[in-house]
């Protein structure tokens, strides 16, 4: 059957069975309106909560924690290694609508410790456990003087076998077992403002140190530390042998990890390969995603969830989960309405098919296949679903306007009271339409099969 013929048949049906079809479409429209209204409310409330009440426009996504290996796993020595984020996934996150930028992080995959700070503190202080991350240097470009936050091995110095061979504050970067290393300027590191604040407000007063916040950036040379790689108070790296390098703090940056030192990515990758193996060098340990606004963080959380990543800051996730839960519950109510209305479609179409047995038989006699009869019935239902869906969407939108208006008029002002409690993203319209058509068609499938099975000989035998 040609499409034009199908359209003609359906148009004739809409004209003559208008009343019966409108009756059954009403239920579908009501179900669609309920569904879309509740989903829009949930999306709107979530956007308000994440965008204004908890203004988080950046979120750190992590791969799932290594599963608890269990007793058997412990005995066999398996499991343990976290999966990490693949570079592909980082790119994909960057393409999520509303994402401003993505900062993949490579954490130090081995123990490290540090001592230093004599230049501005008067004497050395130490960190027996040094957490550290590596980031793409370009991400700190705005906060650090050009050329400072780069991998020193991009421009390696002369060959060396120990630090004595290097001049001017440089050290010999040489992994254990390698015959000859190269002289390297101190590895640049950046710190977070948060860390500086903690140091100045809590640690410095307790120990009588001067505050470093202002002086840190002013000093051309920064603060130099010696960092012990592969060894800390708590243990040693699984592979490689511990060695000491020099590092220098070159700036304060919003891209730096909150606690610990942040190095250029290439440096951490090299060290991780040396002390943690190939996988530790390739897979990112987390990714900080900056959204254009807090409202879009919800989308980022959803996109991350599809890649198996979850937010490190659980507050955003909790809000998200709570609202999603309530939304799911309300959608369930709408689902029930839709199922009930699908059964009303079934009733209507069953009656329609029964009443049209003679007509169906005639069509079969003049050349219609059983499949064409079924397709005709299902198409009619789809068109009914389409109109019902359009009506439902309009009703949902109007109800949302009314609810917003009522809230503006009747509710007292409270913090973060939004202009609208609803969000109608483009896909919600499609979703509403899709469900409306889907449930209409589902309701009509039984009657369509009955229509296809009408026995033409018997139906034509009567008058």
């Amino acid at each position: 059957m040609k499409l034009a013929a199908l359209v003609r048949l359906v148009r004739r049906d809409l004209a003559r069975a208008r009343r019966a079809l409108a009756g059954s479409a009403f239920g579908i429209a009501a179900g669609t309106a309920t569904l879309v209204f509740f989903l829009a409310l949930g999306l709107g409330v979530r956007a308000v909560l994440l965008g204004e009440v908890f203004p988080i426009d950046r979120i750190e996504l992590e791969p799932p924690k290594a599963k608890d290996p269990g007793l058997l796993g412990l005995l066999l020595g398996g499991g343990g290694e976290p999966s990490g984020i693949r570079p592909d996934d980082v790119d994909a996150l960057g393409r999520v609508p509303g994402v401003k930028r993505v900062l993949p992080k490579l954490s130090l995959a081995f123990p490290a410790s540090a001592r230093g700070g004599r230049e501005i503190l008067g004497h050395d202080v130490g960190a027996s456990e040094l957490p550290g991350d590596g980031i793409d240097p370009s991400l700190a470009a705005a906060d650090v003087k050009p050329g400072l936050f780069v991998d020193p091995m991009d421009t390696p110095g002369p060959a060396c076998t120990d630090d004595a061979a290097c001049t001017g504050g440089a050290y010999c970067e040489r992994a254990e077992g390698v015959a000859e290393g190269r002289c390297s300027a101190p590895v640049p590191a950046i710190v977070s403002r948060y860390l500086v604040e903690i140091f100045d407000k809590s640690i410095a007063p307790a120990h009588g140190f001067p505050a470093v916040g202002e002086t840190l950036l002013g000093r051309a040379q920064g603060i130099t530390f010696t960092v012990r790689l592969g060894e800390s108070l708590l243990g040693r790296a699984k592979q490689g042998s511990p060695r000491t390098i020099k590092a220098r703090i070159v700036g304060i940056s919003g891209s730096a990890t909150d606690l610990g030192l942040t190095f250029p990515l290439g440096v951490v990758r090299r060290w991780n390969r040396e002390f943690g193996g190939e996988r530790a060098a390739e897979r990112y340990s987390s990714a900080v995603v900056e959204a254009r606004s807090g409202a879009e963080v919800a989308d980022v959380i959803d996109a991350g969830a599809r890649m198996g990543l979850s937010p490190k800051d659980t507050r955003a996730r909790d809000v998200s989960v709570l609202v999603s839960g309530v939304m799911a519950l309300l959608s369930l109510v709408a689902g029930v309405v839709l199922v009930v209305s699908a059964s009303s479609i079934t009733q209507t179409f069953r009656a329609l098919v029964l009443e049209r047995r003679g007509e169906i038989a005639l069509y079969r006699a003049v050349g219609a296949t059983a499949g064409e009869i079924g397709a005709w019935t299902v198409s009619l239902a789809a068109v009914v679903g389409f109109f019902a869906g359009a009506l439902g969407l309009v009703v949902a939108r109007i109800l949302a306007f009314i609810a917003d208006w009522a809230a503006a008029e009747k509710l007292p002002d409270f913090p973060f009271k939004p202009d609208t409690f609803f969000a109608f993203p483009w896909w919600l319209w499609l979703l509403g339409m899709g469900f409306s058509i889907l449930f209409s068609v589902l309701g009509a499938i039984g009657p369509a099969r009955a229509a296809a099975k009408v026995d033409p000989a018997r139906a034509l035998a009567g008058s």
Partner: protein
């Protein structure tokens, strides 16, 4: 010699009506050559309607063999059989089976809805030509309710002939018409048979239709009485 339009071998049809299964057709062997006008005469309940439904591929619950234009319809898929019906066979029923929500011209063009290769303009021209030929040119926009019985049957005939079938199957086509109107319909069959070499099989219990036929078969209790075969 060319393939016959219809050939049946050992054709039987048992309606499973609960305890007393009824044998509506029993061992029917008939051959209808192309261009014949065959009238099947028999009393009510003798199996005439069953015979037409089975031959026309509307009723597939038969035993035996039916060949239409050399093809065994028992081996055809439901869809292929439907296509064959659309292309080669026209049906005319006692109760017309017009669609009352449609106009006359829409009724006549109904078969085109299920013609995958149809050309809308050609179909409309053909429908108008047929209505003209059947004396209904000025009734194209009317609904069946506004027509007399004879006019309705003529609309049904136009519908049956729309796609230029080779075989017309008629079940008591004059059964619902008065004598004069019925006579006019019978004349139309004769004309179409003569002018377009249309093969016609008409079943009836009325002798007057038989007079127009080139051959008469008599059906009794589902059996064709070969000795009674009469050529006109």
């Amino acid at each position: 010699m060319s393939v016959p339009a219809i050939r049946t071998r050992g054709l039987s049809r048992v309606h499973d009506g609960g305890r007393d299964a009824r044998r509506a057709l029993a061992d029917v062997e008939i051959v209808v050559e192309e261009g014949e006008f065959v009238c099947v005469l028999g009393p009510s309940g003798s199996g005439k309607s069953t015979l037409l439904a089975v031959i026309g591929g509307l009723d597939r619950g038969y035993q035996g063999e039916i060949e239409l234009f050399g093809e065994d319809i028992g081996r055809m898929s439901d869809a292929a059989l439907a296509r064959l019906r659309g292309e080669r066979i026209g049906f005319v029923f006692q109760h017309f089976h017009l669609l009352h929500h449609l106009t006359v011209i829409e009724n006549v063009t109904t078969p085109a809805l299920f013609d995958p290769h149809g050309d809308e303009e050609a179909c409309l021209a053909r429908a108008k030509h047929l209505l003209d030929r059947l004396g209904l040119a000025d009734r194209a926009g009317d609904t069946p309710a506004e027509l007399s019985g004879g006019q309705r049957q003529r609309v049904a005939i136009a519908r049956a002939l729309l796609r230029k079938p080779k075989l017309l199957l008629c079940d008591e086509p004059t059964g619902n018409l008065d004598a004069d109107t019925g006579a006019r319909i019978i004349e139309l069959f004769e004309e179409f048979h003569r002018e377009e070499r249309l093969t016609i099989v008409a079943v009836t219990h009325e002798e007057r239709l038989a007079r127009a036929a080139t051959r008469i078969l008599r059906l009794h209790d589902g059996r064709v009485d070969a000795s009674n075969e009469v050529s006109a």
